[in-house]
Amino acid sequence: MMGGNREAYNMPHDGHHHDHDHADGSELSPIALRVKALESLLIEKGYVDPKALDVLIDTYETKVGPRNGARVVAKAWTDPAFADWLKRDATAAIASLGFTGRQGEHMVALFNTPDTHNMVVCTLCSCYPWPVLGLPPVWYKSMPYRSRAVIEPREVLKDFGVTVAQDREVRVWDSTAEVRYLVIPERPAGTEGWSEDQLADLVTRNAMIGTGVVTLPA
């Protein structure tokens, strides 16, 4: 059981990240065959448009991703009026940068402070703010993260090499409704006068989930 789960959810993959699918299907795994069969069937029954499938995949593979969220963070760091708008109405403030839609309909921005480190999880499924972060990484959807983030957040942060000072509160946000959370990490010292573009390049996906912090390159 344990081994099965860890293999499915957790084991780092073996370096070549794509199956080498063959046209005759002889080397497809059972799940690959099953997905392929269902795709043919749903197209044959007219429920899905095959070209629409390609566009959906391309959208989340190439167009929507954490660079969007990094733009939001960099603007919040450099534009106090925008930061204030984010605090009051994150959905509207984020939409003003063009990031809207599915799984980002009701946004809340969580600002890290000297007193509080915010961290986001979805214990019940894998809710995640797609328009600003794209699709979630495997670990975010994994049983270890979903189970442990709420009961031992500091131990989970250790798995990411992050230590939060004992006198700061780690505040975990469990996304149980359709509200989606974006962490606004603290701006690192030594970035005074940097442009939004330079700052955005520093912001990592994990920092916007709360399992990372933003640091200057060594």
Binding site: L41, E44, Q103, V138, I151, F160
Partner: protein, 218 residues
């Protein structure tokens, strides 16, 4: 339901293993499975709560052993068969054997960008009076419904404080049962780690909870 999806507080799933530079997909079938779930969702055959509930109704061991996209695929097959959109034999063979059932919409390729950009909001007008305000002390009810709920087990019976009010949103417990949206007030409730886990900690968990999940604490 007290299903396998309700992960918060479990231990025994091991460390959170994250992969540096993780690709969007790890197998060729994953984007196809992802796109099929999205495209079928766009036919309007089920709502988001019914889709989540289908995943929760998978056998527990299937849920825990499967990778995320496998789990989504299995849950969709369950829905397709239950709704008569696909027969079990068709799913097995990948060929149509019975005529398609009418669906509300087929998402054609040209419709996809607009559908994704629009998303679907979940706030709904309601005449229900707002029962709680920021600062109110509440207790999450102890419930064990057989159907869908978004009140995680680890919060049931625990006392917390209202920290945000989000207006009235679709109530998943009703929506997942096909009993209508029944909009209810949605709050963020902050629970201390001490209350949730009996731990000496200053950390806390914030959870989005609908009013029927809560009772006033005197």
């Amino acid at each position: 339901m007290n299903g396998p999806h309700d992960m918060g507080g479990f231990t025994g799933f091991g460390p959170v293993l994250h992969e540096a530079g993780e690709p969007v997909w790890h197998h060729d079938w994953e984007p196809r499975a992802f796109a099929l779930v999205l495209a079928m969702g766009m036919t309007g055959s089920w709502n988001i709560d019914e889709a989540r509930h289908a995943r929760e109704r998978l056998p527990a061991m299937t849920y825990w052993r499967s990778s995320y996209y496998e789990m989504r695929h299995y849950a969709m097959i369950l829905q397709l068969i239950e709704l008569g959109l696909v027969s079990a034999m068709e799913e097995e063979h990948g060929r149509m054997a019975v005529p398609p059932k009418p669906v509300k919409r087929v998402a054609k390729v040209e419709m996809i960008p607009a559908i994704l950009a629009a998303g679907s909001s979940y706030d709904r007008p309601s005449n229900r009076p707002q029962g709680f305000a920021i600062g109110d002390k509440v207790r999450a009810r102890t419930i064990s419904p057989r159907g869908h709920t978004r009140l995680p087990r680890y919060a049931r019976g625990k006392a917390g404080e209202i920290v945000a009010v989000h207006g009235t949103h679709v109530f998943p417990d009703s929506s997942a049962r096909g009993q209508g949206e029944d909009p209810q007030w949605l709050y963020t409730v902050r629970f201390t780690g001490a209350e949730l886990w009996g731990k000496d900690t200053k950390d806390a968990v914030c959870i989005d909870l609908w009013e029927p999940y809560l009772e006033a604490l005197a």
